[in-house]
Amino acid sequence: MKKIVSIILLFAVVLFSSCSKDDPVTTIPQEVITTLNYTLTSSTGETFQFKFIDPDGDGGIAPTVSSEIIPANTVFTGRIQVLNETLDPVEDVTLEVKEEDLEHQFFFSSTLNTTVISYQDQDASGNPLGVETGFMTGASGNGQLTIILRHEPIKDAEGVSEGDITNAGGETDIEVSFELDVQ
């Protein structure tokens, strides 16, 4: 009896270890966001960039975050660009966000209270979206600029259309912070 069992087991081990799984279908993730660019353009046409890039997604190589020194007491127009650079050609996710404008909203906050950021665009219901913004600097100083993209926020909740994220709910698709250096 024991002999039979051990023979069967041995047979099973040989048989099973030889079968293996087919190669999985590698999918190129479609929903990845690798890059956020926030570009400020002054009235003179000068541009300043805030850039967050994480080409390999979560984990792996740490993302690179960069920002430029911006002049004090200046009015800019701000524009957000969101990209998926894992795809070839690179996908401009901003278009998807604009298409689903009712389900998205960017939120901006600065620890430097002399900076004022305002919404310059609207979704189909007249609520802000935040791809286009107005950006105004005051006196020079250092701080932090945080940009958040919320998916399915409750846009009619209190304060949300003024850019207050507290009651927005939903799910964070992007949350990045930049050094803010105003001189």
């Binding site: 087991l9 099973a12 799984k21 999985p24 929903e31 979560d58 966000v97 689903e100 507290t166 964070t172």
Partner: protein, 773 residues
């Protein structure tokens, strides 16, 4: 704890009578299977003639004025499930019924019923009546009534059982003798079993389950379906439930028949429920839908060969609280601040939108038994399972209808068992088993899978020995298992390389137990078991953002096999005829215990910063105590008290283990009317009232750096139950009314992940009908 009142119709002997007269008398005796004591106040009714009788203090009954023919007898006794028995009566006849009326837990000592395995390990049994009276609940929530069993939940619809602090891959759930195959690793993955198919559920709070495949760290849950029985006419059961909380409707129909050629039984369940409600708001998107069907066929080819076929399909859709779908830590912290979860609406709805789970589980099983002699037999089982799990998240770009997780698992199980008795009384049970699991991600998700594709092969052999010597029962056994995992992973970098792994594990387990019956009122059982569990696929290879928990989980390729040593000590004692108690003390030491350890790293991603958790190993200890006490104030007024105490320690890091249940105190007082109550022409039998309470202590062992928020406060839930039965011609109607959380308390439970976002459910009124025909 539900009343442990069991009733088993075990044997029906039709003794020859003589004296052919025009009218016949049927008389008989009903005795308690366990104690041999006559059972008083058992109602026997002949359905065809509507005449009946009640047993006297000798367990004796007589029904006169019958004629020859086929008859059905309804046998009912307080607190037991009513039985329908068929008999051919041609002459004056004496019927003997043995009913297992285990009124007290103390009676477990003398278990001899064929359906309850005789063991030195602690068995807890939920009877058909317990299950069918709770038919509106899912299987885990039904099991919660057993002391030492808790549930790990994500809302009320998604829950999995926790036995003595272990769950998921560390306990084994057997559905009709086949280890449930599915995505057991997920904390929010419920077992895919319809409890209403079960006639009996046993929980072995044991040390090492050698007979069964799967992890052998201790406890096993056995789900046993209804037998076909001996009834040659179409018979069955229909039940309906309504729950006020969630406006849930549930229906179950069972029909069956035993013919000379074949016996069959068909069981179907449909359930639909909407948003549950806390005392003050709706939990949006917490509805459930379920549709299940099971078919059993039984054929006796000869006296020696019997074949049993079983097919079941389980299909469900479960909503997850909308407000619990969050991304990073900021979202989570914001959710904690809210009194009501985000997206709470004022209106009730049956709609189930994303986030949701959609699961289909199909099982086919063929089992043949061949009896060489009365005490030697062989069993062959072939079973296959298909588990399809799709989880939907809220996604961008119209992808919400595309699952974010889509897994298909196919399992094939082969088993040969041999059972024999030696001349000197040893019962020897041995077997070999092979289980193949093929797990594949469906690329439809467009997301890199959380766990990789794999095929695993488990082959095992076991042998157990058992013998009764004087007042002792002794058992011991061994198991050897070989595991081969062939895994194909996709690297998480941009190149998406395919990397293959092969893991081979050899696991040994063994256990020994001794039960000693000191006297009629006192018995002890001691059990020691060693078991091993090789690391799960998710523990080795999972990787990435787990949105549900706001963290990045990382598998660990260096994990080794867990080794557990568990001891249990049980005392069953009867202090007097009216007071009895049992206590189960357990201590488990798990070396290389695998757990998710928060790392020092906070990882920056474009979605914000996430804490990193990695599967690590430590030395763990789990110990606890389950106590149950029964006090009978009179024949009709009885009470039960239960207390479960448990502690889990990470010995190496000197902290508590996470997800260890809170201590629980339960109590209940029953009033059962022995005599039927007549109101007008209706006769209400088996009338019962129950008041029950459940006090759940605060989990105080978790420190603030082990969880995002401190564990919730202690809470107390009060409930009421009422039930009665009436006979309407040849059918028997049972009516149940229950009220849960009567005080409508606001509470949160430590083992419910939804506690981060919302309160648990409030007042719930349940009514149910059960018709036996």
């Amino acid at each position: 704890m539900y009343n442990k009142l069991l009733i088993f119709f075990l044997s029906l002997f039709v003794l020859n009578g003589y004296g052919q007269t025009e009218t016949l008398n049927v008389k008989g005796y009903i005795k308690d299977q366990s104690t041999g004591e006559p059972l008083e106040y058992v109602n026997i009714i002949c359905n065809e003639t509507k005449t009946g009788s009640v047993t006297d203090s000798f367990g004796f009954f007589i029904i006169s004025d019958l004629y020859s023919g086929h008859f059905h007898f309804t046998i009912s006794h307080i607190g037991c499930e009513t039985q329908l028995v068929f008999a051919d009566i041609e002459t004056d006849t004496t019927l003997y019924f043995t009913l297992d009326h285990t009124d007290h837990i103390i009676d477990d000592i003398v278990i001899t019923g064929s359906n309850i395995p005789l063991s030195t390990e602690k068995f807890e049994t939920l009877t058909s009546q317990d299950i069918s009276d709770s038919g509106y609940k899912n299987i885990s929530n039904i099991l919660e009534s057993i002391s030492g069993v808790s549930t790990l939940k994500n809302g009320s619809g998604i829950s999995k059982p926790v036995v003595h602090g272990l769950y998921g891959n560390r306990i084994t759930i057997l559905n009709n003798g086949v280890a449930q195959a599915g995505q057991q690793w997920g904390n929010d993955h419920s077992p895919e079993i319809d409890p209403l198919v079960a006639n009996q559920i046993n929980v072995i709070k044991g040390t090492s389950s050698l007979e069964y495949m799967g992890s052998n760290l201790g406890s096993v849950i056995l789900v046993q379906p209804q037998n076909i029985g001996t009834e040659p006419h179409l018979n069955g059961k229909a039940s309906y439930f309504f729950e006020s909380n969630g406006l849930t409707h549930a229906t179950n129909i069972q029909i069956g028949k035993k013919t000379k050629k074949i016996g069959w039984r068909l069981n179907g369940t449909i359930k639909k429920g909407g948003d549950k409600k806390t005392p003050s708001y709706f939990l949006n998107n917490t509805g459930t839908e379920e549709a299940n069907l099971a078919l059993t066929l039984e054929k006796k080819h000869s006296e020696k060969l019997k074949t049993n076929f079983y097919a079941s399909t389980f299909n469900t859709q479960l909503g997850v609280l909308r407000g619990s779908h969050i991304s990073n830590l900021t979202d989570l912290e914001q959710a904690f601040q809210k009194e009501k979860p985000f997206f709470t609406e004022d209106n009730f709805s049956y709609a189930i939108d994303a986030p949701k789970q959609k699961i289909n589980h199909h099982l086919l099983k063929l089992k043949s038994s061949y009896f060489l002699t009365d005490t030697n037999w062989l069993n062959f089982t072939l079973a296959s399972q298909l588990n399809i799990r799709k989880e939907f998240d809220i996604r961008r770009g119209g992808r919400t209808d595309t699952p974010a997780l889509s897994l298909k698992q196919y399992a094939l199980f082969l088993e040969g068992k041999y059972h024999t008795h030696s001349n000197n009384g040893w019962k020897i049970n041995s077997g070999i088993q092979v289980n193949i699991i093929d797990n594949t991600n469906d690329p439809e998700t467009g997301i890199l899978p959380l766990i990789p594709d794999y095929i695993s092969y488990e082959s095992g052999a076991f042998v157990t020995f058992q013998n009764s010597i004087n007042m002792s029962l002794i058992e011991f056994g061994f198991r050897y298992s070989n595991f081969i995992q062939n895994v194909v992973t996709i690297s998480k970098d941009v190149n998406q390389q395919i990397i293959r792994f092969q893991n081979i594990y050899n696991n040994l387990s063994g256990s020994a137990g001794w039960r000693y019956k000191a006297n009629e009122n006192l018995s002890y059982a001691l059990n020691v078991g060693f078991g091993q569990r090789s690391p799960g696929i998710n523990e080795l290879y999972s990787g990435g953002l787990h949105q549900g928990v706001s963290g990045i989980e990382e598998g660990n390729l260096d994990l080794k096999t867990e080794s557990s040593l568990k001891s249990t000590f049980t005392i069953l004692a009867g202090i007097s005829n009216h007071i009895s108690f049992e206590s189960l003390l357990y201590f488990q030491n798990i070396g290389n215990y695998i757990f998710l350890e928060p790392q020092d790293e906070i990882r920056l991603t474009i979605r914000g910063a996430f804490p990193v958790f990695k599967y690590e190993q430590t030395q763990a200890q789990i110990f606890g105590l389950d106590i149950n006490a029964n006090i009978d104030f009179s024949e009709s007024i009885k009470s039960t008290f239960g207390y479960s105490y448990i502690k889990g320690k990470d010995v190496t890091n000197k902290v508590a283990l996470i997800n260890i249940p809170s201590n629980v105190l339960t109590s209940k007082i029953d009033y059962e009317s022995i005599h039927a109550i007549k109101i007008g022409n209706s006769k209400f039998e088996n009338l019962g009232f129950e008041i029950n309470g459940r006090y759940v202590f605060k989990q105080n062992d978790i420190t603030s750096d082990q969880d995002f928020v401190t564990p919730p406060e202690a809470y107390f839930l009060l409930g009421l139950e009422m039930s009665t039965e009436i006979q309407i011609s040849s059918t028997r109607l049972r009516w149940i009314l229950k009220a849960e959380n009567i005080l409508n308390v606001e509470y949160r439970d430590y083992l419910n992940r939804q506690r981060y976002f919302a309160d648990d459910i409030g007042f719930n009124l349940i009514t149910g009908f059960n018709l036996k025909f």
